[in-house]
């Protein structure tokens, strides 16, 4: 899919943006930087996947992202709701997976013991 002109690019961009806008899934952004992985991001990812299957949730998607900067709270998950707003959870352990899913995906709560303060705009 080689782009050969300015027009090609903007066409692709438009399509991409549109596709994204139509995506109504809840996103779980898991920090997959070196520090996140060192702190157990991979294990958390598995636990969440398992939890989502257990609760039969279809409208949530895990996205591996880079370092968010909350090193003190790794592993972290940012949950982004399609209707707007998001919440950052820190110090997640695999045994908390179901708890997290129940509170923040099923109930879409903005508060819990896992939420850490967002310190940037």
């Amino acid at each position: 899919m080689k782009l050969k002109s300015k027009e090609d690019f903007f066409k692709l961009k438009e399509e991409t943006v549109k596709k994204r806008a139509q995506d109504k899934d809840i996103k779980l952004l898991i920090g997959f930087g070196t520090c996140g992985i060192a702190a157990g991001a991979k294990i958390i990812e598995k636990a969440i996947e398992k939890g989502l299957a257990e609760r039969n949730i279809k409208n949530a998607k895990i996205v591996r992202v880079g370092c968010v900067g909350y090193c003190y709270a790794e592993p972290t998950i940012e949950i982004v709701y399609p209707e707007g707003g998001s919440v950052i959870l820190g110090n997640i352990k695999s045994e908390n997976a179901l708890d997290v899913i129940d509170m923040h995906i099923l109930n879409k709560s903005f508060e819990s013991q896992y939420v850490i303060p967002r310190n940037f705009e």
Partner: protein, 179 residues
């Protein structure tokens, strides 16, 4: 391939063959005045294959790239990453980045040194464990950090050294069995 057989000494020929084909695949033109630019890359590969860069490997690399042994040796001795001595089967690295340092990684290192009866940079007499220090693995949130192979131990204090060593011994034994 003539270099492979000429330089085969104590290290397995198979590894030399792998290194040889790695260099061949780079497609270096022997007349290219910039061919030395591949040196560090080739040394990385060689060390990942052999575990260390003894003289025989250095000479093989020199011959392969058409540079002098002195140049290869000078480069290896300059960079921390390269070693001319074999490491232990299990290598334990203590992060000595500033973040880890201020959170007490020095004490952790001391504890490992006492436990293994070797200094940082050394290898135990049975060749099983080696100990060295790293400058920041970038997991400062978990400081002090200890790395064993790919595994990262975070928030380490001297009291945890025994537990980490239990893991290391298990790891070394399992490597032994797989062999």
């Amino acid at each position: 391939m003539s270099e492979v057989t000429e330089y085969k000494k104590i290290l397995p020929e198979e590894l030399y063959r792998k290194l040889d084909s790695f260099v061949e695949d780079l497609g270096i033109d022997s007349k290219d005045p910039r061919k030395k630019g591949y040196l560090i890359q080739v040394l990385h590969k060689a060390q990942s294959l052999f575990g260390y860069l003894p003289e025989e490997v250095q000479k093989f690399v020199a011959r392969k790239l058409g540079v002098c042994h002195s140049e290869v040796s000078g480069v290896i001795s300059f960079y921390n990453f390269f070693t001319t001595l074999p490491k232990g089967k299990v290598n334990i690295s203590i992060c000595m980045g500033t973040a880890c340092f201020v959170r007490g990684s020095e004490k952790v290192l001391k504890e490992f040194e006492n436990f293994l009866h070797i200094k940082s940079g050394g290898v135990t007499s049975d060749g099983k464990f080696s100990l060295d220090v790293l400058r920041c693995v970038g997991a400062c949130g978990l400081a002090p950090v200890v790395m064993v192979g790919d595994r990262v131990y975070g928030n380490v204090n001297p009291k945890m050294v025994g537990d980490i060593m239990t893991d290391c011994i298990k790891l070394a034994n399992s490597m032994e069995e797989n062999k």
